[in-house]
Symmetry: D2
Subunit: 352 residues, 4 copies
């Protein structure tokens, strides 16, 4: 990667002590073109970040601050918002007005249709911004991201599902009305907030489904799948919780169009991602495992056919905190800033 002497980008992270925020800090503090200037945290205002995350002792010496719009606009060019939905839509307008670039990891700017957002979430404060927001699925909307000033960074489940189906939908290799998505996520996806659902003893050595056919990522997937397919698509989506920290595996089922072969599926996927750095198509005979992508920005994709039923079974694996959140957000920052998309993200995966 380049060694040109560009001035560094001044970057802030709002909500830096949640898991997605802390992962942003991890990536950005080692990014060669970034100068991390502001970290905000309501819970840990005035506490050194490395006292909250001792792993980072020696890597970050910033002290967490309260969220303050003036402070952000004076100290940053680019702001990552790593807060729960609802808060960002009150802060982002001010940042954009000050001509800052914003990458929002919440759901607030992921939808073009305010009605879909409001049915799944709540009334929207800044619906006029939805038109200019770009959905940050980096490989799919690369060109739009290059010129965007506001990114709605995708949810982890939509990222893992759409990266596998979008190429096939676009090439019309599958019937969009038959898509069933069975996803499995590690516990870090639930964030750092305390709840019985993230209590060690309630999760450890157990496996369950949750929010069956009612998860908020379902309309998000529907919206993008519909946009790509050119018709209204409603998938069946069931998320599950895996007793592990990081990682997400999504298994998808869809009917193949007539005469579509395994080779056609493979070629379609390979061609779609030929120029991209972070999607790896598994060679025949190998399928993704979450351990292969842990800690990295990769999405690994593999598939098999059920020939008797004419169904394709697509399997994709990501690290939910990296490609599913902070990593993809930084990838989008790179693309928006004219940097190589892999800058600061070229982590060698751990063998085990």
């Amino acid at each position: 990667m380049g060694k040109e002497k560009k001035p560094k980008l001044k970057v802030g992270v709002v909500g830096a002590t949640g898991y997605a925020g802390a992962e942003l800090v991890r990536i950005l503090c080692g990014h060669p073109h970034v100068d991390l200037t502001v970290l905000t945290s309501r819970q840990y205002a005035n506490v050194r970040f490395d006292r909250v995350y001792p792993a980072l002792q020696g890597h970050v010496d910033l002290v967490c601050e309260e969220l303050n719009l003036d402070r952000l606009t004076s100290a940053c060019q680019i702001v990552f918002m790593a807060l729960p939905h609802k808060v960002p839509m009150s802060v982002v307008p001010g940042l954009l007005a000050a001509r800052k670039q914003v990458i929002d990891l919440s759901a607030d700017f992921r939808f073009r249709d305010v009605g879909v957002y409001e049915r799944a979430y709540q009334p929207h404060n800044a619906p006029e911004l939805l038109k200019q927001a770009v959905y940050g699925l980096s490989e799919v909307f690369y060109a739009d991201i290059q010129t965007a000033s506001l990114i709605g960074n995708p949810g982890c489940y939509p990222t893992s599902a759409l990266l596998a189906t979008v190429p096939l939908l676009q090439a019309d290799l599958i019937d969009p009305t038959t898509i069933i998505i069975d996803s499995k996520s590690g516990v870090s996806g639930a964030g750092r907030s305390l709840s019985l659902g993230t209590h060690y003893c309630q999760v450890n050595e157990s496996f369950k489904a949750y929010k069956v056919a009612s998860h908020r990522h379902n309309p998000e997937i529907n919206a993008i799948a519909s946009q790509i397919a050119g018709i209204s698509v409603a998938v069946t989506f069931v998320p599950h919780l895996v007793p592990m920290g990081r990682g997400m595996l999504t298994t998808q089922y869809a009917q193949l169009r007539t005469n579509v072969s395994a080779d056609a599926v493979r070629e379609c996927l390979q061609d779609f991602y030929a120029q991209r750095n972070f999607v790896r198509i598994c060679p025949p005979g190998r399928l993704p495992e979450t351990m292969h992508v842990k800690g990295t920005n990769y999405c690994d994709i593999g598939f098999e056919l059920d020939q008797a039923q004419r169904r394709v079974i697509l399997i994709s694996a990501i690290d939910n905190l990296v490609k599913g959140a902070a990593g993809q957000a930084v990838q989008n920052m790179n693309i928006m800033s004219g940097l190589h998309e892999a800058e600061g993200l070229a982590q060698t995966p751990y063998p085990v």
Copy 2:
């Protein structure tokens, strides 16, 4: 449960030191109507069982023996076979000839159609016995089991899948051609044999699919689903590996027949299992989790509808070593022997 002074059943376990075998020993050594007389193990012949499984110190004082047909026929009335497929079909004919009852946990006697077995496994030595063998899905084939002398005990995946779908197939509430089965199993299902796939570091903190649309339990599920539905059924079946020891959760998707309501699905399931002890239908708003059944013979079943797609999503949870293997085998022994089906199996589940 009864306190009648029946003489105890003399019982042997062949293959006692594998995980299913050891689980049989655990249950049988505390069973009030069982006298455990013979444990065989090729690997640990002449070793005390409780040196192989120190947890059982003070509960079993038997020494493992080599498999010997004369020894088994002279010391046992009932023999559990907990060996990999292929071996049982050479031993079982001799046991039956000596008028012993046999419960075989391998695949050797699960199929009526020898061709299906031979395509999935290998040539069969004793195809003439397949007609008299009863498929030991206790709740579904209860009446046949009562009079059986040879049980083909079901696989763990088929048990978890079929207990949820059989009632709906039988009542024709779902379209049998649309069934997709996404199963997730703990690692103990792979047994005690050493392999890279069960090495701690290759499994821990990872999640993967395996044998996608090619697992040997697929034809087993197809055969029973077809028998119940009265037409040839071929499901799509994808197993996954969960980083935990015990437990299996199966998520199934199927198209509902026209006008079938959630209430109809619930009633169908509740009625089917009203007289049985080990299937619990979750109340509305609750879904199965593997921790609720860990260490027990329960199968918990719950469901949701995807109304937009007219799909039912069935979720079932078992302990793969208990209801998925040893527990169901003992339940079948109880039924064959005229005992209450829960005898020796009425373990209170652990809250956490």
Copy 3:
């Protein structure tokens, strides 16, 4: 165990929805001589217990109640208190005044010396009861427990440590001034309350020490060790957290008295526990592992000598929620009630 037709004991559990409380419910609902009459829970008052712990569906149909002294005294003979310290000392006097028997799982009645309690915890409301309270380390204070009306049930760490050292201290085989206790506990010991320290992602795949030389179980161990040794003993005690749900392993180091052999240590331990059901001394060449006692009331003890240093290394394993809390409490109830100590606790351990 006996089948005599005694009337059942009416038993209540105060604080039934914490982990120790729920474990009491698990054991007591299957206890042949117990009629479980009252469960209290502030957080879940008026909620069915099996909605809080769905694992127990079909085993308990009680609804949780607010704590009410009149209700307890009218419906129970024996009351288990499974609340954090401080609350019990306000409730127990009323129960004793009503001639109920009480087994308190908090620290409130574990100390004879109110000063020691108050230095480690807080001012004591009912110091006059400390004299009549019996420390419920079942095997060590068996005779006192038989006639007790108030039991201070031991902490999990003291149970695991003292069961190994008490016999050697009593026989003067080790130097009491040299005891170092390095304990490792599963996460369930921290209870069901939410805290960052029990959040899945903060515990999973990590290992740490905590409250080094400052844990409140330290004075508890000191007090009993001093009582047994007949001199003032102050041990060094360091607890650690293991990424697993249940289980505690304690490794202890002490200087052997001159000429004490491995055989002498072994005999001492075996003789001390010869008449007891729940302490198993490992045969030479085998050492305890927590999986061998998981879900049971066992304490497994093993040891090795470091001959060069003349140190004995004692290793003991318990399930922190059973022998370390609810199981030992029920064992004490059995002893107080003239039942066999193992009644309701004779769970066969799981092989894996």
Copy 4:
């Protein structure tokens, strides 16, 4: 770190498909001054490395080879040996004769006294090399490593223990005859070989001690502690197995010399490591946790005093595969090669 245009070092890894070997590959394939030329593996000869470790797809395109001395000497300047002890001592003499630098991760070159090696391991083939071998505890023997051609890379347990005690021994703050070392390791330390002891179900959700006072790392620790203390030291050492993949925590107990304060201990540690990059002394009130160092070359050290007993309790945490094996080996390569010790190792730790 520097951008000088040195030619890259040609490096080979012998035994590349074990866990330590694969971790070397991970680090070296991203090292800016390394050209990875040869990977050997007996088991996977002629197989692409990234088929054995799919995580590394896109990062390494080498094919594994059989071990061949000529091939190594012609293609490498520096060779890492990641084989079990015994094999290296037959290969290393040939490499040294060809004027290659060797970093051996086995025990073969860790001891100066061949007798100690032979009592713990086996007869030594190349005892004449022991004198020139340098023990690769990077921070302690930095100067010797700079000029070494053969490194005996330390064991993981000795690394974690000695980094905490060496400064105190050297400053005579503790009594060397009183050291007790209670270590806890993740499962990856046992390597990739199959054994019942690394079978998922035998390790998961359990905790145990093993090789109590008889582990081969005990004489290794004794030798270095003696060398530093200037008298013969024999520690008591007990390793334990933690149900997690990576990470090692060591808790050490020792009597303080008279009048040594907490401040003196802290200063001693801080001064000793003031110029080094990979040892972090925890600030007061914080103690190491293995998650803080996972995936990194750090050793975090913290401590508490048991004032009553005048004991210091030292706690140190490393990633057993990095600072405990491959990372320290690369650190040693850097030091030997005149590079900054952190080159290629400056991984930002994961916050969670």
